[in-house]
Amino acid sequence: MNDLYQRIFADPEFQALQRRRSRLIWMLSTIMLVTYFGFILVIAFAPEFFAAPLGADTVITRGIPIGVGIILLGLALTGIYVHRANGEFDTTTADIVQRLRDDSR
């Protein structure tokens, strides 16, 4: 079993898959972190930006759609990750493991 683990780890196709997976993980995490902490920093340093109404005839401020947008963004990012990971990544991983298991027989 340990030998199989090592061959999976060293497998070029597995490593390529992991690079794709890592890129996606860090990209999505960065988007979420930058958005969230950007939101917090605007509140800390320039709250008047969020206080501006969207138009002359409305009381709805910029902060409302931006806030709701961040919640929707969080959901969209998780949706993207689950779609890729439960589809492409899992299938490829299973193929690699199967191939290396067969090789060892």
Partner: protein
Amino acid sequence: MSRAGPLFVTIAWASWADPVRAAGGGLPEVAADAPLNLPAIGMFLVFVVATLVITWWAANRTRTASDYYAAGGGISGGQNGLAIAGDFMSAASFLGVSGLVYSSGYDGLIYSIGGLAGWPLVLFLLAERLRNLGRYTFADAVSYRLGILPVRTLAACGTLVVVLLYLIGQMVGAGTLIQVLFGLPYEAAVILVGVLMVLYVSFGGMIATTWVQIIKAALLLFGSTVLALVVMYRFGFSFERMFSEAVAAHPKGMAVMAPGGLVSDPVSALSLGVALLFGTAGLPHVLMRFFTVPDARAARKSVFIATGLIGYFYLLTVIMGFGAIVIVSQDARFLVDGALRGGNNMAAIHLAQASAGDLFLGFISAVAFATILAVVSGLTLSGASAISHDLYASVIRRGDAPEGDVMRISRVASVVLGVLAVALGMAFEGQNVAFMVLLAFAVAASVNFPILILSMYWRRLTTRGAVVGGATGLLSAVVLMVLGPTVWVEVLGNAEPVFPYRYPALFSMLAAFAVTAVVSLTDRSARARAEMAAFEAQYVRAITGMGAAAAARH
């Protein structure tokens, strides 16, 4: 509430745990002569009977340790998503956030966003690897390649500190809330909560705890949806009308449409953000839910569903809060000396009565009680797992304890935790326990999160680094919280805080990461080399799920 400074989360989390303060001292007289709320008590009794039947059913299905700790891995992704959302939709979120929107408008939305933003990170970084590496507790994953004794002891300490702090906050909140909602005495309420949670956890284990949480989450989502629809109906389903009438009704006017409380201190704002985001990723009672699903695929799906439900729920609380500004704040029935009867966290409850009548008030009150019960049950199970699975089975018995013994210890531990929670709940009656839930998040972000994430992603992490770094995070979070304004000034009554910031998480988490890194990098022991060498096998298992605990038989 108009006080400048980043108080809003203290208030959102704690005003419900501490309505005396939030209500400006107006609560005790109200509570003392609160009439028995019969429809609420009736509906709550139905909930209790139903959950006890479920516990009986679950107890019959709980044969192995896997059943007890992880529901045999037989919970589906969708069900687990509801349960995770339920863990997070506590009474603090339901009553605290809608009350915060009621009192200061937009600030409530800021809190909601903080509560949501941690979930995508849990998904990207933790969920699937945790599922593939562990069995019952997150300590399983951390001790995969590190020294079992020291690392499990540390993880169990991190778990128990978070669980106990969180439990005290919930118990004090529960006692006060039930006093107001049902007209029951504080002590009776606390004992009732303690007895029920011990019954669920000790007999029904994870199966009962999960189903109680799922049912409560469904009831809470249903009740909140109805309430939000009734509010929107009143405003002709126009957000513009709802917001403009709220601006006209609220003493702060247009200020309710903009951030108000966070502006004075950027460091506290950041530190709070850190606590919310990374604390969420280190809550032991939420992390253990990933072991109840059959595989990594279901674990991922459950986070997606939980994120959607939590986001939806937070949007509902915003509607409830703004609706209450218009509907409740102008209704003399709900006001005492111009302030909300029972405190701001009663906004959603009063809104239910004002907009849908006494029967619906009873329903919402019963749901609020059920919410507390479900959350404390999850906490108790998490604490009992840390004591029996991490400390007893792995540390004291070195892994050779029979399964039956471990489960027996777990049941005893849940009773002990229940007694402790009731005793502490009574000891802290009427006191400011705001800081305890904040500290729980800070400890989760400074102990559990760093050692978990580094064990999975950083080859160079060693046992020595994890233990010294984790202990640093724990100590610094506690010490900075005690020396900060929340405890040093507001609880202990000193004039000036020693540590100027309200939220320690930014500093304690950075300290934990830094110390862990330095100690690991300078660790030249043979054991450290062996631990690094084991990283590849751990990595392959975390990704592929080969050798991971499978679903038992369901």
